[in-house]
Symmetry: C2
Amino acid sequence: MQLEEIKSKFERFLRQKGYKITRGRFEIIDKIADYGPHFEIEELVRWIANQNRSIASRSTIYRTVRLLQEFGAIREVIKLGNRTIYEFTAGKPHHEHLICVQCGKIIEFYKEEIEELQDKVCEEHQFTPLNHRLEIFGICSHCKAKSHED
Amino acid sequence: MQLEEIKSKFERFLRQKGYKITRGRFEIIDKIADYGPHFEIEELVRWIANQNRSIASRSTIYRTVRLLQEFGAIREVIKLGNRTIYEFTAGKPHHEHLICVQCGKIIEFYKEEIEELQDKVCEEHQFTPLNHRLEIFGICSHCKAKSHED
DNA sequence: AGCTAAATGAATATCATTTTCAATAGGAGG
DNA sequence: CCTCCTATTGAAAATGATATTCATTTAGCT
Ligand SMILES: [Mn+2]
Ligand SMILES: [Mn+2]
Ligand SMILES: [Zn+2]
Ligand SMILES: [Zn+2]
């Protein structure tokens, strides 16, 4: 289980930054890990609020997600309309996404060659890449099949 | 000059949809074409408002940008924070972007091989791609040089 | 235990974008 | 050219995600 490892690294991160170790922050990490691979903050806020014991307010959840991004355990992966979908990168290898615009399904993929070509492009432009995001929007096989039914 | 061509195709599009041909819509196209390759709507609204004769209200500008997206002359190319950067695709070939997180500079590029690999990935997942966006965030050569000065 | 700065929650603000609604203007038909 | 119907427009208000404010609480040091 690497969740504990991430939490202890996060603890070190907080200490080093002079931030405090609070129960709320670690409970939010647990909830995010429980929630699933991809989430929207509002969705998470509602999900947490619907549980017996509310562990943190909306403000704290937003603040903690920001902190976890700074730390590097969370990244923004899809931006569509006014929605931002995050993911808990927690030891997961880097990857990109196919997003079904019909049903919202998210498929993950990784193509080494695409990554290499990106580095090549950056070199050609003397550009120092920090991060990137490749979003492919389209129709998943399930939705495709369904639309042929009628 | 293909701007005129685009406008006449847009006119056909409007007619076909049962929409009306209004002066405002075409003046907004002219302004967008004048403005530059990439724009944010609020920026455009302010820019248009600062000109002698105001050609359209904020609402109409938003509505027209949406219409032009539907028509296919404009696409969302970068989403960073709460900012959306659009571009007038007006006959321009498809491309992706490098975005300097320091100065905001946008560099365009196109790599045929990346496009092909994307199609391959989609096939592998029986996914029908409609459109995609590859954003590479980093530091441009100019900002890099500047940060080495001190 | 006592002190101080950081964290928290609730309410409020912000910012981009959308919607509402009353007034106006295309454009089809006469 | 006139009339009527409907789409469009502008201004203001609403929305929705996220950020900020501020009074209160808490972590962590002495
Ligand atoms: Mn993912
Ligand atoms: Mn571009
Ligand atoms: Zn689907
Ligand atoms: Zn730069």
